[in-house]
């Protein structure tokens, strides 16, 4: 189902999300937001609101963790497919394997966290990724990691339990490291959003990963 043409979607979306260092209106808007201490109020927008953004994944922290788990499942599957694709060798392949192992560890930790809160872990989504060339795969990886970091940042202020927050933050900064490493490989800015990471809301994130989920 996911063919080479689908690759155009995440890439253009990435530009829209200002994750690629483009010069769209979105970039200007986000850059302007980043220049003062009010920059991140958007991510706290729904704090205290009745219905949580992640309600479809469960209540409260369980919902947030299951949302994160779904994204980590996708990242893990993506890296596993990339390793199998044979498009990479040597140091790049090692980096991809390493990142894939780390995403798998995130899956395990999040599954445990959901269970420890008495919740039911979200099922693993069935996914397919376009694996055309080394370059397009690296670009997709960069998109996915930058989006992942933004997704965690978007939820940090909504997490109730300090323990869950500590775990989410410990994962969030690793996603940021992955994103910066991939951006370096791609010759793009390590901080495409400037001095302050920008959050992404659930709707935007799910819309971006939708093309890769099958069945």
């Amino acid at each position: 189902m996911a063919g080479p043409k689908d690759l155009a979607n995440p890439v253009s979306r990435r530009r829209f999300l200002a994750l690629g260092g483009g010069s769209t209106a979105a970039v200007a808007f986000l850059a302007a937001c980043g220049s003062d201490s009010d920059s991140t109020t958007t991510s706290a927008m729904n704090s205290g609101a009745g219905k949580s953004e992640t309600a479809e994944f469960g209540k409260g922290d369980v919902g947030i963790l299951n949302y994160a788990l779904t994204l980590e499942y996708l990242e893990t599957a993506f890296y596993a497919d990339v390793v199998k694709s044979g498009l990479f060798k040597g140091g790049d392949l090692e980096t991809i394997r390493k990142f894939g192992r780390e995403e798998a560890e995130h899956v395990q930790a999040l599954t445990q966290a959901v269970k420890s809160l008495g919740g039911k872990p979200a099922p693993e989504p069935k996914a397919e990724f376009p694996l055309e060339s080394a370059k397009s795969v690296l670009e997709l990886a960069g998109t996915v990691e930058n989006l992942g970091a933004a997704a965690y940042l978007g939820q940090a202020a909504n997490i109730e339990s300090p323990e869950v927050l500590a775990s989410a933050l410990a994962i969030h900064s690793v996603e940021g490291r992955h994103a910066a490493a991939l951006n370096t490989l791609l010759g793009e800015s390590i901080t495409p959003d400037g001095a302050f990471g920008k959050p992404a809301d659930v709707k935007t994130v799910l819309k971006s990963v939708e093309p890769f989920i099958v069945g």
Binding site: S37, T40, A156, A166, A170, G176, S189, T191, A195, G197
Partner: protein, 217 residues
């Protein structure tokens, strides 16, 4: 790959032990005390011990968002000064030179944002201490930069769960993500793994807390 640092030296990061933090006014602030402790903990036990140390030290001093932000500000003062100085002192060329400029600018923006946030909360931003960085050349710079960035990530991640205001937490999250990005970029310059662990810090806090006990003022 990275495991050699602990077995080879008694100190995990000896370069951190050589960093000077001085306050001319002789009015050593709580933030500076915690920063000194954080550097000491990082020097002896590695950057990953910094988060749990910072969390415990802030809790012991009564915490509060302004206290946490002032500690973060002290850390950002250190990083901003370090990169500003490095523009000439690190003798960086090409790609690294651009990276140093970027990092200097990012850290300076963090200083400004934290100062503004502290004022907004009705607090008083701490004064900038004097720093003394003992390193020489590009490789010395890169080694210290990697330690500072990993320390910064660990410190923010350690302190963040104690933040009460959701807005302040979101702002701190936006900063720590950028520190993590810096850490990865500097690590690549050092030919090290950009993300050595799956978790920043890994979840072995009890062990680490015991290790940093001597540095808790």
């Amino acid at each position: 790959m990275n495991s050699k640092i602990t077995s080879q030296e008694q100190l995990a990061n000896p370069e951190l032990a050589a960093v000077g933090v001085e306050d001319d006014s002789q009015d050593l602030s709580r933030s500076e005390v915690i920063l000194k402790g954080a550097l000491a903990a990082g020097a002896v036990y590695g950057a990953l011990s910094v988060g749990p140390y910072v969390r415990k030290a802030l809790a012991a001093t009564g915490g509060g968002d302004v206290a946490i932000l002032n500690f973060a500000l002290t850390l950002e003062y250190l990083e901003a000064k370090f990169y500003e100085e490095a523009k000439t002192r690190a003798k960086a060329k090409g790609e690294l030179k651009s990276l140093v400029s970027l990092l200097a600018s990012d850290e300076q923006q963090h200083v400004e944002a934290l100062t503004a946030t502290i004022k907004k909360l009705g607090g008083k931003p701490v004064a900038e201490p004097k720093f003394d960085f003992a390193y020489s050349g590009t490789s010395g710079f890169l080694k210290l930069a990697q330690t500072f960035e990993d320390t910064g990530v660990s410190a923010y991640n350690g302190a963040a769960p104690m933040i009460k205001s959701k807005e302040v937490l979101a702002a701190a999250g936006g900063i720590v993500q950028v520190e993590a990005r810096h850490a990865a970029a500097i690590r690549l310059q050092n030919k090290e793994e950009p993300a050595p662990e799956a978790f920043d810090p890994p979840l072995q806090e009890k062990q680490v807390l015991k290790a940093v006990e001597p540095f808790l003022a």
